[in-house]
């Protein structure tokens, strides 16, 4: 156990406050499924008092890493660091089938291979029955049964977007980090972000060398893979000379901001500050004009609110251009948690049900958020319930407000 993690473990006063905020604990009511218990289990693992068992893995992997517990902790214990180190210790023994693990290693770090596999999956979709218009089931080995996943775009965002969009002499230039879901499933979100950023006066680079942020690998405890991905992304972004790297995905932003400096052992590894899309746009709020019609509410992605501490910015943006309202449960987790939902599909759905209940009570015209994982989960849940609530990325809402679509969008097809 590293000295820093040992110190974090010692800081836990075992007060139990995390029991009041953990979405997984609220459903399971098991001490092994909450930060205080997991900290104790990690300590016992590090000290050799517990060995690697299926139950230990259940408790150490049955965490969304939403980090609500860190946010609430009176002793400021860095729970994320403890759980990450525990998973690294268990690393390589996670209960993913070995071929999936190997496949992930090979795929996530190689864009062309990833492209090819996703294309194959897209072909498979054509022969599988559609559950609902625009949604299909695929990759069942990764996401369990019964989940509707977004249709894979005919052309990924990275393939359809230009390297640079905006006036050649733009006074401000930013680079866009897309994230895998946006790249393959929601390229229209990438288009919307570019339109809004252009309207705010920023030229936008989309470096083609960017790869997966590494969040799934980090969740599984594969540190070597995270480092490899971080280095590839650093190579793609660090020479651009932009004022910021803008990220439209809460989990990706959390990785780039917090994990990259740690695994690469240097400050500012991407050569420019990393900002969430709403964080960047909040300082250009004066550039917004026009309105988005209808009542909207915000869903706080955990990795935005509790990891990046961003919750005010998207609200002020939405209040500026729409009929925005807050509601009870705005920061309640959607239950997606990346690979969490692959390992614990039932638990994921239970957590999601609390969220959709809160949203149904709020009954907005559109639910707006800033994380492609949350979008996937919420759209799937609403569609499974036969509800027609729209779930949108904040860039899509702002794009409607900045008006004319004189900029490229998703490959129209």
């Amino acid at each position: 156990m590293s000295v820093s993690v040992e110190r974090e473990i010692a800081k836990c006063s075992k007060c139990g406050k995390c029991r009041s905020v953990c979405p997984v604990f609220l459903e399971t009511k098991r001490e092994g499924m909450v930060a205080r218990g997991r900290v104790s289990l990690a300590e016992a693992l590090f000290r050799g008092r517990l060995s690697d068992t299926a139950k230990l893995r259940l408790y150490l992997y049955g965490c969304l890493k939403c980090l609500r517990c860190e946010d609430a902790c009176p002793s400021a214990v860095k729970f994320g660091a403890i759980i990450s180190e525990a998973r690294r210790k268990l690393g390589g023994r996670v209960s993913l089938p070995w071929f999936a693990r190997l496949g992930m290693r090979a795929m996530l770090s190689r864009r062309r291979l990833f492209d090819a596999v996703v294309k194959a999956a897209a072909l498979a979709e054509k022969v599988l029955p559609r559950r609902k218009e625009g949604k299909v089931r695929h990759l069942p080995m990764l996401l369990g049964d019964g989940r509707g996943l977004p249709e894979i775009a005919r052309k990924s965002a990275l393939k359809s977007l230009d390297d640079y969009t905006g006036p050649a002499g733009a006074e401000r230039k930013v680079a866009l980090f897309l994230g895998c879901l946006v790249n393959y499933a929601y390229p229209e979100i990438a288009g919307a972000m570019i339109r809004v950023l252009n309207a705010a006066g920023a030229g936008v680079y989309v470096p083609k060398g960017q790869v997966c942020c590494g969040a799934p690998a980090a969740s599984l405890g594969d540190e070597a893979l995270v480092r490899r991905l971080a280095e590839k992304n650093a190579a793609a972004f660090s020479a651009l000379g932009v004022e910021a790297i803008v990220v439209g995905c809460a989990s990706g932003g959390a990785m780039l901001k917090n994990e990259y400096p740690a695994v690469m052992g240097k400050e500012n590894p991407l050569g420019a500050p990393v900002l969430d899309f709403s964080e960047y746009m909040a300082s250009h709020i004066d550039k917004l004009s026009g309105r988005f019609p209808g009542r909207v509410v915000w869903h706080d992605p955990c990795h935005l609110k509790f990891v990046q501490k961003i919750s005010r910015q998207p609200r002020s943006l939405l209040a500026e251009i729409s009929d925005f309202e807050d509601y009870e449960g705005a920061d309640y987790c959607c239950g997606m948690g990346g690979v969490f939902s692959a390992f614990f599909p039932d638990l994921s759905l239970k957590i999601a049900a609390r969220k959709t209940d809160a949203l149904k009570k709020a009954a907005p015209d559109a639910v707006v958020t800033g994380c492609s994982g949350c979008i996937l989960q919420l759209r799937d849940r609403f569609s499974a319930e036969g509800s027609n609530v729209r779930v949108m990325h904040i860039a899509e809402v702002l794009a409607a407000a900045v008006g004319s679509d004189d900029q490229p969008r998703r490959d129209a097809s």
Partner: protein, 463 residues
């Protein structure tokens, strides 16, 4: 009495009763071994009962097979009451968490022990009703644990503590019998008050499986002020003067200068220069009356030397004051590796003397002490900031705590206002409880729990 871990046969019987709600996996034992004291006792098994009958079956089996049983809620207690004696079977009651009834006609609520206190508060407040006990842990501690420890909180001065709100209990005695105590009425003198005996008994007499609680109407108005003083004495005088003036604020929270310094440093607060104590005063009642009461309290604070006062009448402003108060505990957690935390009580008129003595004790032992208090009821939270890994400091803290208790006794006070005795204070019990009374307590324990299977090792000093 020493207890062995449950035998293989006993474990098999437990599994046949509880099925999937039984575990002897080391992972489940590790996470049932501690409470907020960070002390540990490794249990022999954990079960998650869902009914009174299951708890009774468990305790009967304990009597037959000779293992101990430790009831467990959120395990947020501060004296080790929920730390199992090694080898015990832990009964984790947090899944029994139904609010069975809120009786609006009679102003009562019937609850299971695993209900989270703040959840109950929110549910009854929605109906214009009020459950006043509010320990700092109310967002995660359970009603069962609150009853077993007789939890207090900030509103004790005006509204009393948990014991004042328990009307009726269903519980399983140490013999495995299901008993019902008390009455679903406000008045009842039918025999001995066994309900009150169980409240605060720390799981040593009976395991509570159902409780009927008294509710009161939710006060319609609230107003809050914070007053700063150049000396803790003046703050103490202001408290006495308010009560003498027949003002009964719902909260009168005292924070001393050392604690203010820690909060200022940790959280960036800026308090008035020269302030060496602060009082938070909160009044409630009829909406029209509340501002008048707060102004009277503020006048009294000023008359007793307050150097600055801020009044808050809106929820947003009130929240700001309480947000600062809520930073006290977290700031102390981060100010030192460990804190030795006691919750003595003295008659409120003796608070200034006790504070002086605490400063003196800390100085003599070379320790830093931070005190905050529910001043209205004389309940002082004494925090020695130490690194217990440093042997000399740990011994100094030990000696200091001993003196704190002796001083509290000398001033006519009590060892614990709301945390209980548990493991951490049992060696001091004799300071307050004389041999005769101690014998009565031990005899009562025997009547409820002849074989001593319930939560052994708590409250009483080793014989």
């Amino acid at each position: 009495m020493g207890y062995a871990s449950p035998s293989k046969a006993a474990l098999a019987k437990l599994e046949s009763i509880f099925g999937e709600r039984f575990s002897a996996d080391p992972e489940d034992l590790v996470v049932a071994s501690y409470d907020a004291t960070k002390r540990e006792g490794m249990p022999g098994a954990v079960v998650w009962p869902i009914s009174t009958e299951e708890v009774a079956a468990l305790v009967r089996l304990a009597n037959e097979e000779g293992f101990a049983v430790a009831a467990r809620g959120a395990a947020s207690g501060l004296t080790g009451g929920a730390v199992p004696a090694p080898g015990s079977v832990v009964a984790d009651l947090t899944t029994m968490d139904a609010i069975l009834e809120i009786d609006r006609a009679n102003l009562t609520a019937l609850v299971e022990p695993g209900v989270i206190v703040s959840k109950l508060q929110a549910e009854v407040e929605r109906l214009g009703l009020f459950y006043p006990p509010d320990p700092a842990s109310d967002e995660f501690s359970t009603i069962g644990g609150n009853i077993a420890e007789c939890a207090g909180g900030l509103r004790g001065l005006k509204y009393g503590v948990t014991r004042d709100y328990v009307l009726e209990l269903t519980a399983v005695t140490g013999a495995g019998d299901v008993i019902r105590t008390g009455s679903n009425t406000i008045k009842s003198v039918t025999g001995y008050d066994i309900t009150r005996l169980i409240v605060g008994s720390e799981g040593t007499l009976a395991i509570i499986t159902k409780a009927r609680l008294k509710l009161i109407p939710l006060p319609e108005g609230l107003a809050t002020a914070v007053a700063f003083f150049a000396s803790p004495h003046q703050a103490g005088e202001a408290v006495s003067a308010m009560i003498a003036a027949r003002l009964l604020p719902r909260a009168l929270e005292f924070v001393d200068g050392a604690t203010m310094g820690v909060v200022a440093k940790a959280k960036g607060y800026r308090f008035p220069q020269d302030a060496q104590a602060l009082l938070i005063i909160e009044v409630d009642g009829a909406a029209a009356q509340v501002p008048q009461d707060l102004r009277r309290a503020v006048e009294i604070a000023r008359a007793n030397g307050a150097i600055a006062v801020e009044e808050a009448y809106s929820d947003a402003d009130r929240e700001k004051i309480w947000a600062m108060r809520k930073q006290v505990s977290p700031s102390l957690y981060s100010a030192s590796p460990d804190r030795v935390n006691e919750d003595i009580v003295v008659p409120r008129s003796r608070i200034p003397e006790m504070l002086d003595a605490l400063g003196d004790i800390a100085r003599r032992h070379g320790l830093t002490v931070c005190n905050f208090a529910h001043a209205g009821d004389g309940n002082i939270h004494v925090n020695f900031l130490v690194d217990l890994a440093d042997r000399a400091k740990a011994e100094a803290a030990d000696a200091a705590v001993d003196e704190v208790f002796k001083t509290a006794m000398a001033l006519g006070g009590t060892l614990s206002g709301e945390h209980g005795i548990g493991l951490t204070k049992k060696r001091f019990l004799g300071y307050e409880v004389a041999p005769l009374e101690m014998r009565i307590m031990r005899e009562i324990k025997k009547i409820f729990d002849p074989k001593g299977v319930l939560n052994p090792g708590k409250i009483f000093p080793e014989e």
